[in-house]
Symmetry: C2
Subunit: 209 residues, 2 copies
């Protein structure tokens, strides 16, 4: 039987995923709740809604608001933020690497490094030069990782994860799933962790006493 | 010189506007900040984005999520909630009445009554029979209100307010504007009130001492 966790579904091109990625481990440590990092791709999910771009580009008023909101939010959370010169950046390669990193235990630090490169340093995370740097920055060998990241099996795994996101009702990022319950947006991170404690951790603790 | 306030922009058909309408006066009393109720219409604003319906209907995954989120949110806020059998309901008539109510000081209780009818009692707020009941429930004479609500001047005033919303960058409801700063969504209500205190009330208090 799998142990339930707080599934953190994120996309490297997504602004609010950046904020959530930087907050989640601290909040999960304070409130309790194991976090499972689940990189996926928004592209196919937006395409299914009829969008060929980020809604923040398709709907300009929403986009202008989002950039201002990110400035305020990052200031409050004391997160560095520089508006990327390209948006959204293609997170495909970084997501493939993150999948390789998952079973090896370096997915969280690598993912934070990718988000920091994209949203604090305006680096192009879609190219291997950048991703290789970030792999090295968390103490892994870029060449060995590259090969596994681009294996047919790993490509398939990312595709499967994105399809799972869609099946679970995910329509944007970040999203959190806790015991089948979906929470959408960085704003709902605390609610997702509270749900874990109330609906999963406490009943389990009760059951074993 | 006009006194700055926390502008609360809402639409009677909007689910999250209901939650914000029920919370705002209590939170504003706790945190300080005069609230200005600003009913407007989302229809023309969605139309400008190319939508002829609520995004919660146009994008089914988003819609399914919203209804579940509303259940959770209303339970937490201890607000009654019944999913309306029709969504979104046309808030035009109620918004016209709310505009009549503003200068007379009964806009807030009337607006809460409309939201309660729509989202707790599943009543059809688009028809005069319902709206007349709600006007009477806050101690006003429906017949006298009806005439003023449907005057050319009042119709024009609602149109102008909706155009102002659009000019201010509003793209959804509820929204809050505080000293030119836009906040979107019930989730941002606390932020909007904090902004008022930090950026408007405290500097003003400093300036007068």
């Amino acid at each position: 039987m799998s142990t339930p966790a707080v599934q953190f579904w994120y996309e490297f091109g997504s602004t609010y995923s950046y904020v959530a990625a930087m907050r989640i481990e601290r909040l999960a440590a304070e409130r309790g709740g194991p976090v499972e990092w689940r990189p996926f791709l928004l592209g196919p999910i937006f395409a299914a809604q009829g969008w060929n771009d980020s809604p923040f580009n398709l709907f300009p008023a929403k986009g202008r608001y989002m950039w201002r909101d990110m400035e305020r939010l990052c200031r409050r959370e004391q997160l560095p933020f520089r508006k990327p010169s390209q948006f959204p950046r293609n997170g495909l390669l970084a997501a493939r690497v993150a999948l390789v990193a998952r079973p090896e235990g370096w997915c969280a630090p690598f993912s934070r490094a990718v988000f920091h490169a994209n949203f604090a340093e305006d680096r192009d995370i879609s190219v291997w030069e950048t991703v290789a740097d970030l792999v090295a920055s968390v103490g892994r060998d870029p060449a060995a990782v590259y090969e596994r990241a681009l294996s047919a099996e790993n490509k398939e795994a990312l595709k499967a994860l994105t399809e799972e996101a869609q099946r679970c009702g995910i329509f944007g990022a970040p999203s959190f799933i806790v015991g089948g319950e979906l929470f959408w947006g960085n704003d709902r991170l605390e609610d997702a962790l509270d749900w874990y404690r109330q609906e999963i951790a406490l009943p389990r603790a009760g059951a074993t006493t």
